[in-house]
Structures are given as C-alpha cells and as structure tokens.
C-alpha cells in the first residue's frame, strides 16, 4: 500500500519535472502562425507595462476588425521586453515606454531605424489625497512646510524625471529657486515604483505625490485630485512603436500600428491618461 503510494508520487514528480523542463525553454506567446489553412493568425505584441489597460481595449477593437487574428500581448518593463526580443522571443510589434530601449533593438538590427515612430506621450502630474488637509491647490504648495510628499526613487525612470522636473521648476520665476529644496525636504519616502506612489497617496498615507498622468486611472483614481504641471517645466515621455524586421505578418502588424495612430486608438489611449501624439 505504502509502496504503491510512494511509487505513484514519484512518478507524478518525474512527470511534473519533465513538463516544467519542456515548457521552461519557450517564450510567452510562442504560437506559430497558422495562416496557410485560413485558420487563426497570431500577432505577438510586446508592450510596456504602463500600456496594459488601454492595450487590452485596443486588442478587442483589433480582433473585432480582424476575425481570424488573435493578438497576444506580452506586458513587461520596456527593458525586459527588449532583452526578450534580443534573446530570440518572436515579436511582431514592439511598443516601448522610452526611446532608449527602441534604440537598443535598432542597434541589434532587429528593427529598421526608419520603422520606429512615436505613437503616444505621457507626462508627470501631481496627485493629492482628497482626505488631505494640507491645503494643496497649486504647485507652489508642494514646498510648504509640513506637507507629506512621496516620490518615486531616482533608480526608476519616473523618479529621475521627477528630479528633472524639480530642476526645471526651480528656474521658473513663479515657483522660485528654493522650490526644489522645499519639495525635497517634504519627502517622507522614495518608492521603488510609481504604482506604490499612487497607492499610498490614494490611501491618504501621504498628502501628495508625483506620478505619470496615465497612472491616474482605474478604480482608485477618484480618491485623488490632480495638479497639472505646465508643459514648459514638465518632463514629457514619448513612446515609440515599431514593426520588427522578422515579423511573420508584417502587413497585419502595420495595420495594428495604424490602429494605434488612428483617431480610435488615440481616443482610447487618451482616456487612460496618455497625451495624443498630435495635440
């Protein structure tokens, strides 16, 4: 009895190990296109994590217009996505959150330099807790003593952008040269990612924080108010998109890029806090 139980457990464990080994070496979304028989075609889109919500909506739009096509979207940090593509992951479209990672793929010869074009913009915005009694109405209030502020740490891109914004703001006559020091002395925490900044301000743990405008969406968006940062001192991130040289379905991939650039695509993206590419 015990022997039988042991043996079947051992067999199961071996099978499990085999299954893990055989799947571990494949990339996500590695289905081969099956266009020949007129059956389903798979388009692999690698998109920056910040695009998750609008991309899901655009996916539905695209699949409705192309009945035999299935869109597989791989969301991750842009740097991870670029690494995966360089390591041979099959991708048709790459939508990056910054030019740096796009350039990395152009340098690797995976993307033609002329193929990359900007498709959406993102900018910084100040959010404040609606529960806060710190009296925040204007950018200059961020430097008021006693305000509890949360920023992203400089180790992540948005944290560096925030510091760049503070440098620009310090040169602004309305905010004054002591603005940056005033703001930095109010910081209680440097979070390791921008979603944590948003969450802690939405919870009311801090009075205000600085995030991407595209982060102020979702169920908790109503818990925070926004203070716009003027374009002149804002840091605007431009997202580039490109079809890869090795794409199995370059025509279809082009159509997907065109959908993002179209009025429909831009409208969806702007509903999620992004800025249209042609204002």
């Amino acid at each position: 009895m015990m022997n039988g139980l042991l043996r079947s457990t051992f067999t199961l464990a071996c099978l499990g190990l085999l299954a893990t080994l055989s799947t571990a070496c494949t990339f996500p979304g590695t289905s081969t296109p099956r266009s020949a028989s007129g059956a389903e075609v798979v388009l692999n889109v690698f998109a920056a994590a910040s695009l998750t919500a609008p991309m899901e909506e655009i996916k539905k739009e695209f699949e409705a217009a192309h009945p035999n096509t299935r869109l597989v979207i791989n969301f991750a940090g842009s740097q991870q996505l670029a690494q995966q593509i360089i390591s041979g992951a099959p991708a048709d479209v790459f939508a990056s959150a910054n030019q740096q990672q796009m350039d990395a793929l152009i340098e690797e010869g995976q993307i033609a330099g002329s193929a990359s074009r900007p498709f959406i913009k993102n900018r910084l915005v100040v959010i404040f807790s609606k529960d806060s009694n710190a009296g925040l109405d204007d950018l200059v209030d961020l430097a008021k003593p006693g305000v509890k502020l949360i920023l992203a740490t400089r180790e992540v891109p948005v944290g560096q952008y925030t510091l760049d914004f503070l440098d620009l703001a310090a040169q602004d006559a309305n905010l004054g040269s002591s603005f940056k020091e005033g703001v930095l002395s109010n910081v209680v925490s440097y979070e390791d990612n921008v979603k944590a900044v948003f969450a802690k301000v939405a919870l009311g743990e801090a009075d205000a924080g600085i995030v991407y405008s595209s982060d102020v969406t979702g169920p908790d968006a109503g818990k925070v108010g926004q203070i716009k940062i003027p374009d002149a001192i804002n840091i605007i991130a431009t997202y580039p998109i490109a079809v890869l040289k090795d794409s199995q379905n370059p025509g279809l991939a082009d159509e997907f890029v065109n959908l993002l650039l179209s009025e429909t695509g831009q409208a969806i993206l702007s509903r999620y806090g992004f800025m249209r590419i042609d204002p």
Partner: protein, 297 residues
C-alpha cells in the same frame, strides 16, 4: 532534562550520515545482509541528495565570487551603504529587545498554561510567519497608517508612525516575533513540573521559581529563538517597504538598499550588502546550532 527539539533542521547530526554505522542496526534488518547492499544504499541517498544541495549552495557561493574583496571594501566605505547597515542594526536590535520583553510573557502563557481556544491562539501566533510580508505591510497600514483604525487616533494626538523608524521596527516585530514566541513556548513547556514543585516546596516564591529554575532551564530555547527572530528581522523587506517606505538614512534598511541597488544597475552596492547579510545569517544560524547541540550533550 532533555531540551525540546526546536529546529530539527539545525540538529547537529546530519541526515546524510545515515548508514555510517552511527545508529545500531534495528533488529528487523537481517544482519546477514551483504555489506555491498549497505554501501549501495549509502551512495544511493548521497547521490539523490546532491541536486537540491547544489541548488541551495551554488547561487549563494557565487554571490561571494561575483565581487572582489577590494571592491567590497570600497563599497563599504560609501555613505548610503553604511547608512543602510546602521539603520538595519539599530532597528533590529530595538525590535529584538521588544520581542524578547513582550514575547516571554506570551510564550510562558502558551507553554505552561491550558485554556480554551489555545489551539486557535497558537495558530494565530504562527500566522505572521507564513503570510507574505506584503500582507503584513498592508495590515499594518490599515491598523496604524495615518488614515488607519488606530493611526487616525494617534494622528490626532500628533503621533505619526508611518514612514518613520518606529514603522520599520513595528514591521520587524510583526514578522519576526512569532519565531521567538514559538521557540520560547516550547522551552517553557519542556520544564519538568516536578522541578518547579520541588522549588516551591522548598519555599521559593513564584518569581524565584521563574527566575532561578525556569529561566536557566530555558536559556538555550530563549537564545536560539532570539537569534532566529533577529535574523528574520534583519532580512525583513516586504512589510517594511509598504509600511515604512524607503528613505535613505531614515527607513532604508539593508534588504531595501539591495533591491534598489539591483534595480538601478548599482550591483556592487547590492552585492556588498548581500554578502554581509548572508555572512551574518550563516554565522547566527551556526551559533544557534552549536548552542543547541552543546546543551544536548
């Protein structure tokens, strides 16, 4: 007086030595078995034990080879690295003190008293050790954050815990104290009732019985529990970054600095701190193991 088995994994005798003739052969094993079969059995288990052992060892050992001693010393001189080490040591020592002071009464209650729902309470105490630390962090924010149940009340009194070193210490106590309570209560439970009764008959007061009979007998359990709890507090990351935030020089502990160093391609700082943490953890576990096996002998 035999000490309770606190951490079987820390036992002095190694499971790998099975078959080395340390244990007398049980009667049900035929003594006429050929020697070759014994040897075969020994190699069989040794070979099967290797994969997992290597899986533990290789990554940890490679950490030490990834950074040169010169680079390690140079990074150790950097202010942010020193700050992180300082904050980790300061907060973990305070949380250890609080854990021992507040943990002994709870452990004593659990170890030497019987009451209703004891099993439920016992399970509740163990809960923080199995919960993901992120759950602990969110729970602490909900209880003690500025808009939390008790936090709002403290806030009205002008006391703010979140984003302070107090928050770091509370997060460490929350996740690490159960290790101490568990070990200490097993220790208290193992003290023979005859000994305490004898002391009482000789006229010792309740306090004297605790101080001069029970405490010395549970010394090993208390020390090993404290060391386990301290190592856990030193490695605490998830609850801290949620509840206490990350501010270099104020709330940034070693595990946080390791994570941020890794994220920002500052691998040297991350590796230096990682190597120090591994060394501290290894030495403290070794200390506990040594203590436990010495007292048993």
């Amino acid at each position: 007086m035999s000490q309770p088995e606190l951490y079987p994994q820390l036992r002095g005798d190694s499971a790998l030595q099975t078959g080395d003739g340390e244990h007398p052969t049980p009667a049900w094993i035929s003594t006429t078995r050929p020697l070759d079969a014994d040897r075969w059995s020994r190699y069989f288990w040794r070979v099967l034990a290797i994969p997992l052992l290597l899986f533990f060892l290789i990554p940890i050992v490679l950490l030490f080879f990834r950074i040169s001693p010169a680079q390690l010393l140079k990074t150790l001189g950097e202010a942010p690295v020193q700050q992180a080490i300082g904050i980790s040591l300061k907060t973990t020592l305070i949380s250890l003190g609080a854990t021992v002071l507040l943990g002994i009464p709870l452990a004593y209650l659990m170890g030497r008293h019987r009451f209703r729902f004891k099993n439920v309470l016992d399970t509740l105490i163990d809960l923080p050790t199995v919960l993901p630390p992120s759950v602990a962090g969110v729970a602490l924010i909900i209880a003690l954050g500025r808009r939390g149940v008790f936090g709002a009340w403290l806030d009205a009194l002008g006391i703010q815990i979140a984003f302070s070193q107090v928050a770091v210490i509370l997060a460490q106590i929350f996740v690490s104290a159960p290790f101490f309570v568990r070990a200490a209560s097993l220790g208290f439970a193992a003290v023979d009732a005859e000994l305490t009764q004898a002391a009482q008959l000789d006229g010792a007061s309740r306090w004297q019985v605790f101080r001069y009979v029970i405490l010395p007998l549970t010394e090993v359990a208390l020390i090993s529990g404290a060391v386990m709890s301290w190592s856990r507090a030193l490695g605490e990351f998830g609850a801290t970054i949620i509840f206490a935030g990350n501010f270099p020089g104020r709330t940034q502990t070693m595990p946080m600095a390791i994570y941020l160093g890794f994220e920002s391609n500052n691998l040297d700082a991350a590796l230096t701190l990682a190597v120090i943490l591994v060394a501290i953890s290894f030495l403290s576990l070794l200390l506990v193991k040594g203590l436990v096996s010495r007292r048993r002998d």
